[in-house]
């Protein structure tokens, strides 16, 4: 509770304090607020293990209860959101100071000019302006402007972070929607105030798309709430059978489309490249890494978990699966076509969101778990890459890759961290990318084989082939930035400041840690995804593989593991349509696996 609302309550404080006291105080205050909140989120999560949840619930008018809940699904999302928000605060400082000062110059220079912000081509602004921050001497005007703007930035930032967290912790449909819109508003202002290029137009477009998506989703939420007699998740879950089948289709469609817009899936992705390119880079990091991914959270929570009746998920999952596949390939292909670093990464985000959709539509425990882990992975990997873009913009003043090259020698730390980020997105082992990718694809293939469906098999084959596309655009982008000959204009480039490098380094080490110990997140995730099907034992079980947890598999026709047996045995040899288990002894530890 405190974790969620402290940023909101303290955001005005940040604004007024920042206006008076200057940029350092603002930064560290914001950092402090978010760091404490992050710890407050992490502490209850540690105790949860693979099951159970932590809840705070309050009465809330006739709409039901206002609650905040941490469980296997929201833990990875919540921790990622706040961790990233906290780290980006520090990253923001040098970046936004530079950005705001440049805006100040623009405002001053273009006074009286009617279209002062429209179509400003912001590419060549700081190559000459390459002094480091500490040596920058500001006059009083600049200082006031800077203090005020940065305070405003951090205020909006706090609200933005809090909106995202609230969305994933909500326990009520209405609450979910409120938070969902709450994260949209500050991000709209952040783009409009601090963006690049035609930023007002972009921000309106961003708002428009996101809002249309949200409204479509709201339709589904209202239908769910009214037809099941309550807006609380628990109520909806309990009464889901009361919703008429015809309405289910409408609800599912509206949820998929609504969240599809948020995920920027193929055909509704058009808001994303411009927004990402024009938003200030720290905000792009947040929007790209965590905000879009919340669409995936919504799909899992509201669709798969709440609408858990027979066929409610399985009937439509294949469409999501294929939609994800299309998004994956399309995003990757378009990323190859771009010259602008941030545009490459924007299309790459579309592609990564395709992975999430693909996993969500895969109908298997591992597929969905992989998709959830993919969110964390993508947040770290794409976060690093966008930070790399920011670092390069800051140092070179351009993000056009035709003008870059050979920076590997000039900016070694940025290059190293960017490589780790790139490998995370590609999914190369010891980065967490691999851990999410193999589990995700494994799940998809399992489903294809279990269903013996050639459509799903082809979909799997294309999806796993799309990872080559992913590697291609990442490596090619990397080559164009960091390899080759350094252009004449960039001879005197140095690496970014510690603010930027340290934050990138933290994310890079996190992805390595998660790659080596995926258990940190996979335990709660897999526990949660398995529990999704607990309450529908007699129904068709969409998830056919139960990864071994040592606990009783639920809703399976098989025989429960016999702890005493020491040799491998097969209890049921009909492999499809019913369960089969093998028990393996490895050392003195009983490993029980349930296949299919």
């Amino acid at each position: 509770m405190v974790a969620t609302f402290m940023p909101l309550i303290l955001s005005p404080v940040v604004y007024f304090l920042g206006k008076r006291k200057g940029i350092n105080i603002t930064t560290w205050l914001t950092f402090g607020i978010l760091a404490i909140s992050t710890i407050l989120v992490i502490i209850p999560s540690i105790g949860l293990g693979s099951g159970g949840n932590y809840q705070e619930i309050f009465d809330w008018s006739q709409l039901g209860h206002f609650g905040l809940k941490l469980d296997g699904l929201s833990i990875p999302f919540a921790i990622t959101i706040y961790l990233l928000s906290t780290i980006i605060v520090i990253y923001s400082k040098p970046y936004m100071v530079r950005k705001i000062l440049i805006q100040f110059d623009q405002v001053k220079n273009s006074l009286g000019n009617k279209s002062q912000f429209d179509d400003v081509e912001n590419e060549s602004y700081s190559a000459t302006d390459g002094k480091s921050l500490s040596t920058l001497v500001l006059n009083a005007d600049q200082k006031n402007y800077l203090n005020e703007q940065l305070a405003l930035y951090y205020t909006l930032y706090l609200v933005f972070a809090m909106g995202m967290l609230g969305t994933v912790l909500a326990t009520n449909l209405f609450e979910f929607y409120v938070f969902f819109e709450l994260m949209l508003v500050p991000s709209f202002f952040l783009i409009a105030f601090f963006g690049y290029g035609n930023r007002k137009r972009t921000s309106i477009m961003f708002f428009f798309w996101a809002h249309v998506g949200a409204v479509v989703m709201l339709l589904g939420l209202m239908a769910m709430g009214f037809l099941s007699g309550g807006f609380d998740y628990d109520v909806v879950k309990a009464n889901v059978s009361q919703i008429p089948p015809a309405w289910i289709a409408v609800i599912v469609a509206s949820l998929i489309i609504g969240f599809g817009v948020k995920l920027a899936a193929f055909l509704v992705h058009v808001w994303l490249p411009d927004s990402y390119t024009d938003a200030p880079t720290p905000i792009t990091v947040l929007i790209s890494s965590v905000m879009t991914g919340i669409g995936a959270y919504g799909l899992i929570r509201l669709w798969i978990e709440l609408l858990s009746g027979p066929g409610n998920y399985t009937d439509y999952s294949i469409y999501v699966n294929i939609w994800g596949l299309a998004t994956m390939i399309y995003g990757g292909a378009m990323a190859l076509m771009q010259k602008d670093i941030k545009r490459v990464l924007a299309y790459s985000s579309i592609s990564s969101m395709g992975y999430l959709l693909f996993g969500i539509g895969s109908e298997s425990v591992l597929g969905i778990s992989g998709a959830i882990f993919m969110f964390v992975t993508h947040a770290l990997g794409k976060g690093i890459l966008f930070m790399m873009a920011g670092s390069i913009i800051l140092q070179t003043g351009t993000r056009n890759m035709d003008k870059l090259g050979g920076l590997g020698g000039k900016m070694p730390y940025t290059a190293v961290f960017a490589m780790i980020g790139g490998l995370t997105i590609i999914g190369v082992p010891i980065t967490s990318g691999f851990m999410s990718e193999w589990v995700l694809f494994n799940g998809a293939l399992q489903n294809a084989v279990v269903d013996w469906s050639s459509l799903k098999a082809i979909s799997f084959a294309l999806a796993i082939t799309a990872t080559i596309l992913t590697s291609a655009y990442i490596l090619w982008m990397y080559k164009r930035i960091f390899y080759g000959v350094v252009p004449e204009t960039l001879k005197n480039i140095r690496d970014s400041s510690m603010y930027i490098l340290v934050t990138m380094g933290i994310l890079a080490s996190l992805t390595l840690v998660l790659g080596l110990y995926p258990d940190l997140f996979y335990k709660p995730i897999i526990g949660y995804v398995e529990s999704l099907y607990d309450h529908s034992p007699s129904e068709i079980i969409p998830v056919k593989i139960k990864a071994g947890t040592g606990q009783e598999p639920v809703g399976q026709a098989g025989v429960s593991p016999d702890q005493g047996q020491s040799t491998s045995n097969v209890t049921n040899v009909s492999y499809f349509g019913s369960a089969q288990k093998t028990h393996l002894i490895s050392g003195n530890q009983l490993v029980s696996f349930v296949t299919i």
């Binding site: 477009m205 428009f208 992705h269 058009v270 399309y330 292909a333 378009m334 190859l336 076509m337 050979g406 590997g408 020698g409 082992p429 010891i430 691999f434 193999w438 589990v439 694809f441 494994n442 293939l445 084989v449 799997f460 084959a461 796993i464 082939t465 990872t467 080559i468 590697s471 291609a472 490596l475 090619w476 080559k479 390899y483 080759g484 000959v485 995926p518 258990d519 996979y522 335990k523 995730i525 897999i526 593989i545 990864a547 071994g548 947890t549 040592g550 491998s568 097969v570 040899v573 492999y575 089969q580 093998t582 393996l584 490895s586 050392g587 530890q589 490993v591 696996f593 349930v594 296949t595």
Partner: protein, 699 residues
């Protein structure tokens, strides 16, 4: 015997063999401000330490022991991390460790005065660490970690000179085939290698998933002890596809047809890297994987795994043929060696494949692995010698060399020794014995198409001898080339490289000959080790497979008997194979000698004949495979994406926003038109409305 020793004693050594290089890699960046010597010595120290650890477990391997230690790792899916040091892994691990140690020593001198030594040593250590991980891990998932690790390290090292200077390119500048340039920058080559490997890797992943799905484990031993998964997969006809998919990973990593093209461009890296890639790490990983899973699948032969082994054998045969022919005409010394590597790996695959097509698995298996060992020795030596030459003459083209035998005597002698081994000089070189073993195993097999395979193998042997002599002749014989004359005129003296550089390849070349001198005995010993290993672990004997349950029931008691049985059979010479092997060396060697060493026939004659000229061009253009690959894999897709980007994304998708905007503007204009302020029109509409309403009410 098959004893699972825990995390104590030698178990720790097995862990450390692959961990130490990684620790070293993590440690190296700390030395970034230190001098060059320290960096190099620390790196070499780590590799030597790992090598000595590998040596410490060698006795375990030779006495058919096994170290298997596991720790819990990914408990959400019940996966353990573990090392499995069985005879196969231990021998391979020693080979990798010692050859890479030699290459490391060589690097000290070769990379002298290089700027980014930290990066170099980091990735070199990372490279051997990943390779040892592949060799020693006990499950497919960890193998895949190492697998991608070597892929990553090779990407980084192939593109080591990331500034893309012209002198680091490979290929002849201006040589295009079907519009595809055949010369490549280091970074381009790195990406090419990574992506082609990735294509193999996704196949391997899919195969792993299929097996994981039915068995719930990635562990090699677990897959062996409980074979119910194989039953299930066979019923679904998925067993062979899964095996072939895993082999797909090996195809990518070992540069077998059709994923062979990256290997040639991989020559852009420093020569020490090429030596490492070709002799100890990268390409051997594929062969090792087949050697790792081959017995497992052979032990499942009740499920009819024949097709899998057929595919392995034929892929090997095709690659051997394909790359040997291309090596005949290439002018770059490193590329000739690269082609030859691909071709020799083809031999190994052929041997491992043919092993599974007979009842006597052990012969082919030993032959393949023996060839792996001998190839590792002589190819590392050849590459390092070639590096020494490049270092001296500053050119990668053999036409820029010539007559070097006087100036670089030691390099000449040792390179000749290693070359003889590659060419398969009878009786004194390890290359001869291992090739002979492969021939023999092909002849002995009862596979119906074995005669075709044998024909290919012999033809390739002829070509191997020819291109080896061509290389030696072009580099060391004849007159000094224009390039060398120029260099000497400028005051560059062409002279022998320093000790630190020639010693490593001298040692390996001599080792290759020494093994050759005792070749027969060596093979016998290897045969014995593998026979015991295969029979005790997989139940594979001279006469096919015995059910594993019997083996394991009786392991403790019949151990001696099994060994006895293993030594009694196998490894007698096959006269046909020997004859073929000697003849191949004679014919190929003689032709090479005639053309390039005695120079009594001018090779330029080829151009006079239309057929031979066409053939030459066909081979020189790499059978057009590279161009086909680029057209299918790069040019056409990119063209398509460009169209999509232009017409779909930018016209249609980006059109959504303005069209919404314009339609809104239009609607507001329509609405505005109604508010014209013209009272008469307002009254008119008003009265019309009243009329309509009245009519509606009346009706």
């Amino acid at each position: 015997m098959v004893g699972a020793i825990g995390f104590e004693g030698l178990g720790v050594n097995a862990w450390l063999i692959w961990m130490l290089p990684f620790i070293g890699a993590a440690f190296i960046p700390i030395l970034r401000n230190k001098n060059e010597k320290l960096k190099s010595y620390v790196a070499v120290g780590f590799s030597l330490l790992s090598a000595f650890l590998a040596l410490s477990i060698l006795p375990v391997g030779l006495s058919n022991g096994e170290i298997h230690s596991q720790i819990p790792w990914f408990s959400a899916l019940n996966l353990d991390a573990g090392v499995l040091a069985d005879p196969l892994a231990i021998i391979m691990s020693n080979l990798v460790a010692w050859i890479s140690a030699a290459i490391f020593v060589y690097s000290i001198s070769y990379m002298h005065k290089e700027k980014s030594l930290i990066r170099y040593w980091f990735f070199m250590l990372f490279f051997i660490g990943s390779m040892q991980l592949i060799v020693l891990s006990d499950n497919l998932l960890m193998v895949f970690f190492g697998w991608e690790g070597v892929g990553l390290a090779s990407y980084a090292l192939i593109g080591f000179w990331y500034q893309d200077r012209k002198k680091d390119y490979v290929g002849k500048e201006g040589h295009t085939v079907w519009g595809i340039p055949m010369w490549t920058s280091p970074t381009h080559a790195g990406i090419k290698a990574f992506l082609q490997n990735r294509a193999g890797d996704i196949m391997m992943l899919s195969g792993m998933f299929l097996i994981f799905m039915y068995s719930g484990t990635f562990g090699f031993r677990e897959l062996l002890t409980d074979q119910t998964w194989a039953h299930a997969m066979m019923q679904q006809n998925l067993l062979v596809p899964a095996a072939v998919l895993i082999f797909g990973g090996a195809i990518g990593k070992s540069a077998q047809f059709p994923l062979n093209e990256w290997l040639l461009e991989a020559m852009t890296g420093p020569t020490s890297v090429s030596a490492l890639i070709h002799a100890a790490t990268m390409v051997k990983a594929g062969v090792f994987l087949v050697a790792r899973i081959g017995p497992l699948f052979f032990a499942l032969s009740v499920f009819n795994m024949q097709q899998f082994f057929e595919i392995v054998a034929w892929v090997g045969a095709i690659t051997a043929m394909l790359l040997a022919t291309q090596a005949l005409v290439n002018p770059e010394i490193k590329k000739v060696l690269a082609y030859s590597t691909g071709s020799q790996i083809g031999y190994m695959m052929m041997a491992l494949g043919i092993a599974g097509l007979t009842t006597n698995f052990i012969d082919g298996y030993t032959a393949g692995f023996f060839h792996l060992i001998s190839h590792a020795l002589f190819k590392a030596s050849l590459f390092m010698a070639a590096g020494a030459i490049l270092h001296t003459v500053h050119s990668r083209f053999m036409t820029d060399m010539g007559g070097l035998r006087k100036n670089m005597k030691r390099t000449y002698i040792f390179m000749l020794l290693a070359s003889l081994s590659l060419a398969g000089a009878p009786l004194i070189t390890s290359g001869f014995w291992s090739k002979d073993a492969i021939f023999a195993s092909i002849l002995d097999s009862n596979y119906e198409f074995s005669s075709y395979l044998f024909f290919i193998a012999v033809t390739v042997a002829v070509m191997t001898a020819f291109y080896t002599f061509r290389m030696v002749g072009l580099v060391f014989f004849g007159k000094p080339s224009q390039n060398i004359v120029n260099m000497e005129n400028k005051g560059h003296r062409i002279r022998e490289v320093n000790q630190l550089m020639w010693l490593p390849f001298a040692v390996l070349a001599v080792a290759s000959v020494v093994i050759g001198l005792v070749g027969f005995a060596f093979e016998g010993q290897l045969h014995h080790v593998f026979a015991t290993y295969l029979s005790s672990t997989f139940g594979i004997t001279e006469n096919g497979v015995i059910p594993l349950s019997e083996v394991q029931d009786t392991t403790g008691t019949v151990e001696g008997e099994g060994q006895h049985e293993a030594t009694s059979g196998g490894s007698e010479m096959n006269p046909v194979a020997v004859a073929a092997s000697v003849t191949a060396f004679g014919v190929g060697g003689f032709l090479g000698y005639l053309f390039y060493i005695r120079r009594s026939v001018d090779p330029a004659k080829i151009n006079e004949n239309v057929v031979s000229k066409g053939l030459w061009r066909f081979l020189y253009n790499r059978w057009y495979l590279n161009s086909i690959l680029y057209w299918m894999g790069v040019v056409i897709p990119l063209g398509f994406y460009r169209r999509v980007n232009k017409y779909f994304e930018h016209l249609l998708m980006y059109g959504i926003n303005p069209s919404v905007q314009h339609s809104m503007v239009f609607m507001s204009k329509v609405a505005k038109m109604a508010q014209s302020g013209d009272v008469q029109i307002y009254l008119y509409v008003f009265s019309a409305g009243i009329i309509v309403i009245t009519m509606l009410l009346l009706s």
